[in-house]
């Protein structure tokens, strides 16, 4: 499996009047992410499935990516610590996960090193993509690339 771990694009700041799950992308976040998606497209990257969290910023991020995918699946597994249940859930040869820190970092740590704590050293910016390959289990994957938002946007020009 090729797994693309994607942190949602830039979202509005936390506020007491806005539930965390309902925070939308900022206009700049939306525009920049669209350019980043063109960057993925320029590399002929497509997905069998995109799994995304139900929180609005991830929904918007996945929505912009959806034209590169055959199917999208919403899952609450992406708004909690990664578990084997999430990994067992994944179907397809090329799969994208759109979610949130710190859980995505923990997931990458688990998949690369068998240690979710190792993911704390991963700098995963908003709109960044970590590209992995292998079996979706602890220590089952290797890193193919870590693509910052800037690199993706450059590819999308």
């Amino acid at each position: 499996m090729q797994l693309f771990v994607i942190r949602h694009a830039a979202a509005v700041a936390r506020s007491p009047s806005l539930p965390d799950a309902s925070r939308p992308l900022t206009p700049k976040g939306r525009t920049r992410w669209k350019r980043a998606v063109r960057g993925l497209e320029s590399q002929e990257i497509t997905f069998d499935r995109i799994y995304h969290s139900p929180w609005l910023r991830a929904v918007e991020t996945a929505n912009a990516l959806a034209r590169l995918a055959r199917e999208t699946v919403v899952t609450g597994e992406l708004v909690r610590r990664p578990t084997q249940a999430l990994l067992d859930h994944l179907e397809g040869d090329r799969v994208a996960l759109v979610g949130h820190q710190p859980w995505l970092g923990e997931l990458v740590g688990l998949l690369l090193f068998g240690d979710p704590g190792a993911g704390a050293r991963l700098m995963l910016k908003k709109g960044a993509v970590v590209w992995l390959e292998g079996e979706p289990r602890a220590s089952g994957m290797r890193l193919l690339a870590s693509l910052t938002p800037g690199v993706l946007r450059t590819l999308g020009r």
């Binding site: 939308p24 995109i50 995304h52 139900p54 929180w55 929904v59 929505n63 959806a66 034209r67 999208t72």
Partner: protein
Amino acid sequence: MSDATGEGIAVGRWLRHLEQQVPIARAGVDPEGAHQVRVAIARIRVWLALGGWRVLDDDLRWLRDRLAAIRDVDVELQQEPPPRWAATLHRRHARAQRALLATLQDERLPSALLALSCLPSIPPTRARRMLPRMARAVLACGHVARRSNRDLASLHRLRREVRRLRFALEWLGEDATELVKVQESIGTACDFGVVLRDLGARHGRGVRRYRAKLALGLSRAQRQSRIALRRACPYLKELASCSSS
């Protein structure tokens, strides 16, 4: 009642309806529960299309597909089948209900409901831009249905497109009475067609008479759907030729 306000078209009312009907469908006592879940899903899918949302449609389609089996059996049981065939249908219903229960307990459902509740309202101008394309889809499917002598698959497609356009108009708070008539008549024809297809080549006491009753019902419903669609044609052509505003 319109869901369109000055701030846009919110999904709230139909999302609440879906949330209320899920426990009824889960209980499996009242067939209307499963039917209302499907109705809510169909309306919300149109709302997503009006807002340009690609995500969440697959999740709703997943839920709808798993309701299809039980809905088909409910439709057949409403036709008062002969006793032996009815017994087969009741057994099928029990199996479908068990499968439905598993689906309604899947975490994908509450995740989809949460995601939908977070989506912002849709600007009516954006929604209105979708209407001409939807109307053209109805006209195109109507043409195919006529040419194929109204085979079941083409009728289903036509019904689906009519329903989409009807729901889109209702989301915008516009009158869709003509389309309701078309949808209902095609729907009746489709229901008869499904039941006849499922009955297949079965024999048995009362089956021949039952089959004849269904065939007559199908013929009448097809005639009514032809008339209703012909009456709605000028309106559809006007919608299809509207430029976005």
